[in-house]
């Protein structure tokens, strides 16, 4: 399946990209996150939530179709 991965906030700095395409077999969100950390080691220390097609999901959720994945970090500034 084909995934579009979108990064927000400080994750753009950690990965040096705001978006990328990924060809991957069906997997859980945590497996996907592991793979992304492998590709972008600086993601390892970051806190973020994962959304699939604009819906926040937990790490056990299984992705099995083409989807848009967003990695959303918390912001504190005001």
């Amino acid at each position: 399946m084909q995934l579009t991965i979108k990064y927000f906030g400080m994750l753009v700095e950690a990965t040096s990209i705001s978006e990328e395409q990924l060809q991957i077999d069906s997997c859980s969100v945590s497996e996907l996150v592991e793979k992304l950390i492998h590709q972008h080691p600086k993601l390892n220390k970051k806190d973020f939530k994962v959304a699939i097609d604009q819906q926040l999901v937990d790490r056990s959720h299984v992705i099995n179709t083409n989807a848009e994945i967003a990695l959303l970090p918390p912001f504190a500034g005001g």
Binding site: F8, M10, Q54, L56, P73, P74, A76, G77
Partner: protein
């Protein structure tokens, strides 16, 4: 009649009318923080005729605030933000009540304060306060209009509204302490908090007027560089909400700094700082222009963003005390110093703002 003219352009909207204006006039809204987000929030809420507005902020207006905190001018520098905002807003709309609380929001004052208002708006700038505000809203049963910024991006949502999710349903745990820099550390272009704060003010008006779709159960992400926004659905997590409700009885004793992982940082009172003055090295990590200056402590001035490069000039074995404007950046500085082998470091609670309050008494005492 005068007030009708003031609100004419919103009253003629068929969805609002006289009855909508009366709802606004009868509403009570509390804004946490009168900074980058708080200023536009307060400005629009006051102008729209929200009958009672509360403003809580312990911080003082600094020149470096003026590019984005548009309620203040040069004449406000050095004044408390809640009081300076109140005086500006009273001119903007003298027909409403404005309550200024020139103090820090704590677990001791939050619940009783929140209980006096219908809607709470979060314009704070740190995770400890954001979790405190969320939890107090859950306990007091108040809707929370949330906004936060990072560099060129912003987030907006409405939490704890009509059985919707809370901030903890989105982010149950705070990020590791110090992992996310603040505006003071990485900078911000003035318009971004203007946009995000205006969106928050708009959500407040929508809630009161029962207009459109309130941003409940959704997180809006806005990128000011691409001008793109996206919204994400957030589910309600009942277990997170019950956990907060279970703390209601002991809320006053909760330590949100500890929860946000900043427990290992030794904190001393401004009074103690003066007592040990002659035995320690003192570092002011604010930018050079920030006021008030605390010359009495004879500090070495090193802005936080340059501190790593200047560590070699210090004796790491000597006791060191650090302060900033309010006590947030100084915690970050203590972390950096500890990581770099400093043996005995603490920061001054409340920073220059707190020091400035006790200096006149101390100096008066010495002169006697």
């Amino acid at each position: 009649m005068k007030s009708n003219n003031r609100y004419n352009r919103q009253i003629i909207l068929p969805e609002i009318g006289e009855s909508g204006q009366q709802k606004l006039n009868a509403s009570k809204v509390l804004v946490i923080g009168a900074g980058g987000l708080g200023c536009p929030i307060l400005q629009y809420l006051a102008a729209a005729g929200i009958g009672t507005i509360g403003i809580i902020d312990f911080d003082l207006v600094d020149t470096s605030n003026l590019h984005r905190q548009i309620l203040y001018g040069d004449s406000g520098v050095g004044k408390n933000k809640a009081l300076a905002a109140k005086s500006r807003l009273e001119d903007l709309n003298p027909t409403i009540n404005i309550n200024a609380y020139p103090e820090k929001l704590t677990t001791k004052n939050a619940i009783s304060l929140f209980s006096q208002y219908d809607i709470i708006v979060d314009g704070s700038d740190n995770f400890s306060t954001r979790y405190l505000v969320n939890d107090a809203c859950v306990i007091a049963g108040k809707p929370l209009v949330y906004g936060a910024i990072f560099k060129y991006e912003g987030q907006v949502s409405v939490f704890n509204y009509e059985n919707g999710p809370t901030y903890r349903c989105l982010f149950p745990e705070p990020p590791k302490a110090g992992s996310i820099p603040s505006c003071a550390e990485i900078g911000v272009l003035g318009v971004l908090p203007g946009i995000i704060g205006s969106m928050q003010a708009n959500e407040v008006l929508k809630i009161i007027l029962n207009l459109g779709d309130v941003l409940k159960g959704k997180l809006l992400m806005y990128d000011s560089l691409t001008t793109q926004s996206s919204t994400f659905s957030i589910g309600r997590v009942a277990s997170e909400i019950s956990k907060v409700l279970a703390t209601a009885k002991d809320f006053e004793t909760m330590d949100y700094d500890l929860f946000c992982g900043i427990q290992n940082i030794k904190e001393i009172s401004p009074e103690t700082a003066f007592q040990i003055l002659n035995k320690v090295q003192c570092i002011d990590v604010r930018e050079a222009h920030e006021q008030p200056k605390i010359d009495t402590l004879n500090p070495i001035c090193i802005p936080l963003h340059t501190i790593k490069e200047q560590l070699h000039s210090f004796d790491k074995t000597q006791e060191t005390i650090v302060f900033c404007q309010s006590g947030i950046r100084s915690k970050k500085a203590v972390e950096i110093l500890i990581e770099n082998g400093f043996e005995n470091v603490s920061h001054i609670k409340g920073g220059a703002v707190a020091l400035n309050e006790i200096i006149p008494d101390l100096i008066g005492h010495k002169n006697l």
